[in-house]
Symmetry: C2
């Protein structure tokens, strides 16, 4: 006798013909986010996009994909002599569960950089990218790629599973110091992949809130690098904090120096106050520069921190919150302005001040 | 035939007669930490202890356990008229996996506070403690305990699994607003229990580094409270950031205001700039106050933030990094100093300015 009980499959996936099918059912204000990222993507969705739409080159594609057009659109009109290249869309490679894939992408990026952008113009100086999640492999990649004469920096994601002072990462610093290159970090992957939550209290709700709070990760790394004695162990190392804000410097320096008075017995490898290591070994880029209602306040903050030698101009071209070098900086003493627009970067990256490029 | 193969138990726990047995084998510099915390304890071990040793009352026990001696040792000699009590060693209750145990401890603490300290002197005003991990239960506890005339505040741990602006916590704010009480947060449990890592990059290495970076959790919560529109939904709510630093205010205000210009469409419930909500609804306590080399810098920071009405003196008695009210504050305008030492707290907590206690 045949069994007539109905058979039930309790997991069958029905699909959209295309993502846009859902738009008829979704309130208007969510349409762009759904189209751009669905239920995933870069975790935090920017409603204004991440790119300047006017930065698409004549050949089309991603903004910033054409060395000649980038010069014509950004460097030349703004009187910029050198651009430190920081890549686009690849820093997530160190937040992937698989370290080997991330390391392979980093090496491929570095070879692509040397094959395409660095030969295109003397104005372009490169950052080689590393996978900080595998520090031994990253050190090997530095040794392999650092020799190119137009490579001036090692770059890694600011998002990380451990504060960057911890000894897990020291092979990277040994390799960078040996190669004579600064290490830089760049934000954007906070909260993605294996990075964990982007704040001590978990996940902020949306892009505005996430972007507001990115600098706390920079404070974390600076605090860790100094506290762990990285700059005593690697006295020639410079650490560049790209796009992480600058006005938090006085607060962090003062708090660290105060605690150092009472607790220095627990960090016996430190020979100077924390603020002295910060001033000597940390560099910060300007964009997105803080904009007080009274623009003189930013110069006062720089003076309080003694940060005149620490800060370097950056535009973040072609990202949405680009800072125009003609108007980005607030009123500053001429000497401080020159340091920020030129001297600090020229010295750090060993750039020629005359001849091609300059 | 008997089996003569030896029998192996592969997990047998051998024990110390007492913890001190290990000291003969451990280098001297780790002895105090091993004695105090073994391999666990409060995660981050302070080598200077957490308490002033001179604050033990004549009857012995934990510093700060005797209302009469606390007055005699701290309030009277320093000319302090009111002390806002914040408890000792209980805020971890909201970082426990079991919310019911935490809520029970909170209620017991609040009843103990009303039975012991609040009747002891007009000088003592109480903070009732809540378990923020169970916001509905916390709201019920506020309704139950807020009626005592000497209760002036609701207190919870700054360590949390979600930023405090998120709607999970809104029942707490509804209850506090209804009771007419500010909500305060206090640090110390960052990185403990279910709180998760105390930085966006995981766990700092030791107490010095952990203590340096505590304020990033405060920036996270202030950013979240404003961004989520908590102060539009609860317009009479004040949020008190105890012991989280103050000199980071200009940075956070400027960054939030700048992003608000570009991204305000994503937070349509905000009707003012973020800095305006911060100035109106956030209060900060002074200890541990930042100590710039040039003490005038702190007053300049307060002026930049427009924070003259936001800051309230605190000593953190009897903790190790106590700030003495006679010398803690840097040079400030007389009016600003009076606001910090008196007016701001008198207004927030509704304290009498004459008669008993004052």
């Amino acid at each position: 006798m045949e069994n007539t009980d109905p058979v039930v499959d309790t997991d069958v996936h029905n699909a959209f013909k295309s993502k846009t099918e859902l738009l008829d059912f979704l309130p208007q204000e969510w349409h762009r986010q759904w189209a751009a990222s669905g239920t995933g993507g870069g975790v935090y969705y920017s409603p204004v996009g991440l790119m300047r739409r006017d930065a698409v080159p004549p050949g089309g594609g991603t903004p910033g994909n054409d060395p000649a057009y980038l010069d014509e659109h950004h460097l030349s009109p703004h009187g910029i002599d050198y651009a430190i290249l920081t890549g686009s869309g690849v820093l997530g490679l160190s937040l992937l569960p698989d370290p080997d894939y991330g390391t392979a992408i980093a090496a491929a990026y570095n070879d692509w950089l040397a094959a395409t952008w660095l030969p295109a113009s003397e104005k372009y100086k490169g950052s080689i990218i590393i996978n900080a999640s595998d520090p031994v492999a990253a050190a090997e990649e530095i040794a392999r790629s650092a020799g190119h004469p137009d490579v001036v920096q090692v770059l890694m994601a600011s998002a990380a599973q451990q504060p960057y002072g911890q000894r897990f990462y020291h092979p990277i610093y040994a390799a960078a110091e040996k190669a004579g290159l600064p290490i830089a970090i760049h934000p954007g992957t906070e909260g993605r992949g294996i990075a964990g939550a982007p704040t001590p209290a978990g996940y902020p709700t949306r892009y505005f809130e996430w972007h507001n709070i990115l600098p706390i990760n920079y404070m974390t790394h600076v605090n860790s690098l100094v506290s762990e004695g990285v700059f005593e162990k690697f006295p020639d190392l410079t650490f560049v904090a790209i796009e992480g804000g600058i006005a938090w410097l006085p607060h962090l320096m003062w708090r660290m120096d105060k605690n150092y008075k009472a607790l220095r017995a627990t960090v016996p490898w430190l020979k100077r106050r924390p603020s002295e290591y910060i001033r000597k070994h940390i560099r910060l880029t300007t964009q997105p520069i803080e904009e007080p209602d009274d623009p003189r306040h930013l110069g006062q903050i720089i003076a309080m921190a003694g940060a005149e030698t620490m800060i370097m101009f950056s535009s973040d071209y072609p990202h949405w919150d680009f800072d125009n070098p003609r108007i980005a900086l607030p009123p500053l003493d001429r000497d401080v302005r020159t340091r920020i627009m030129s001297t600090n970067a020229v010295q750090l990256y060993g750039l020629a001040t005359s001849g091609a490029g300059a």
